[in-house]
């Protein structure tokens, strides 16, 4: 049922905006002018919705549609601008406080005030949940985009010699990364008709049993294609962990440096590099 007191808030729009903006600035939950227009629009849409019969019983109705769209936009934009979850939640909570304080001024009957506040809570709590969902989505979008960028720039396949390709891996090797590494490496092997691939793991911070498993998979896939795979860049501490964890790398050619891996590749191809007199 529509609450008359809440519907009447429309007459206090400017006041509500002033209190809300002040609260936001006091708490440091806004970056000021950038959001001012959006905040004003939010207040206006919110009060219009209440006036037009939006209640806590029809939260999914079209009466809220514009309001939700605007709020989702604000939350996503806040996520992208680097606001913390607390600041974003406060944005909407402070709005509720501002509205609540005006209600206390315009209604003196405790029972009616209580009902009005309850109704206000019902509506704004739902908005808070929405804010969170949108905020998270905004963050996830940012993360997804960065993940794509990272995997693109971090798996370059280098043709080091005729018939030899090398792929330096920088960063942690998880299962989705391994997929990309494998795809790129195998495709390059096909494209360049290389019979030897060198996987350099100097840039991998740690090798646990899972990472080792990924490396073994990559080697197996390379061999299935008909090429050999050498793993280089094994640091002493990696050799130690591998043995301590009981990982079996005996079927794999491992070398300490990219240079010695290349040397091994030359031997396999029956090539020699000699110094010119």
């Amino acid at each position: 049922m529509q609450n008359d007191i809440l519907a009447g808030l429309k007459n206090y729009e400017n006041k509500l905006n002033t209190i809300w903006t002040k609260n936001l600035l006091d708490k440091g939950s806004t970056d000021g002018a950038t959001e001012e227009e959006e905040s004003k629009e939010f207040t206006s849409l919110f009060l219009d919705a209440l006036k037009n019969g939006a209640t806590s019983e029809n939260l999914n109705s079209s009466k809220f549609e514009k309001l939700y769209d605007l709020l989702a936009g604000i939350s996503i934009s806040r996520a992208k601008r680097g606001f913390s979850p607390r600041e974003t939640a406060q944005y909407i909570i402070l709005f509720k406080e501002a509205a609540s304080s005006i209600l206390s001024e315009i209604e003196s009957d405790p029972a009616k005030l209580y009902t009005a506040n309850l109704e206000l809570n019902g509506i704004v709590d739902n908005l808070t949940i929405m804010t969170f969902e949108s905020f998270m989505k905004g963050r996830e979008d940012v993360i997804a985009r960065q993940t794509d960028e990272i995997s693109e720039i971090s798996t370059p396949v280098i043709r080091v010699w005729d018939g030899v390709v090398a792929l330096p891996i920088i960063g942690t090797l998880d299962s989705s990364r391994t997929q990309i590494v494998m795809e790129n490496l195998l495709q390059q092997i096909v494209d360049t008709e290389s019979s030897i691939a060198i996987l350099d793991i100097s840039g991998v911070p740690a090798v646990d049993s899972l990472v080792a498993q990924h490396l073994i998979k990559t080697v197996s896939a390379t061999r299935l294609m008909g090429a050999e795979c050498i793993i280089s860049g094994i640091r002493p501490e990696i050799a130690q962990t591998v043995v301590h964890l009981g990982i079996d790398l005996t079927g794999i050619i491992t070398k300490a440096t990219l240079a010695s891996a290349l040397q091994t590749a030359f031997e396999m191809l029956q090539l020699t590099v000699v110094k010119r007199k």
Partner: protein, 133 residues
């Protein structure tokens, strides 16, 4: 019944699989190939799977069978041209096709077969692009 053609090229047999395999077809290939090896006393078999878009555990097992059976008949088998996506899928599936020797393409496969014939089947041999033996 549909069959995959087997070409004889001197001491070698060449099989180019151009269609997607199903179980019966793969089983037919296995028996046809083994019979042909025996008939011509072939020394090597080259199976080109570059046009094959999927290999599941059954077809993988057939490839493995062929390699082992051919070996018993004193012939080397080389599988050539496996697609990257197929190789990755086989590894994820847990199939490493033990006993099957691979090469990147028909040319390299031929080189590998020849090298193996002169080397008595040394499996660690990696062929050289520019070898002129």
């Amino acid at each position: 019944m549909e069959r995959i053609p087997i070409l004889k090229m001197g001491d070698f047999l060449l099989v180019t699989i151009q269609v997607d395999l199903y179980d019966q077809l793969a089983e037919n290939l296995e028996s046809d190939l083994i019979n042909t090896i025996n008939k011509h006393r072939s020394k090597g078999v080259l199976i080109d799977i570059s046009a094959v878009s999927i290999i599941d555990s059954f077809m993988g097992r057939i490839l493995g069978n062929i390699a082992v059976m051919a070996k018993i008949l004193d012939a080397q088998t080389v599988v050539v041209g496996m697609q990257p996506a197929v190789a990755i899928t086989l590894v994820e599936l847990g199939l490493s096709l033990n006993g099957v020797i691979s090469a990147l393409n028909v040319e390299k496969g031929m080189d590998l077969l020849r090298a193996k014939m002169y080397n008595g089947g040394n499996e660690d041999q990696i062929d050289d692009d520019n070898d002129g033996q």
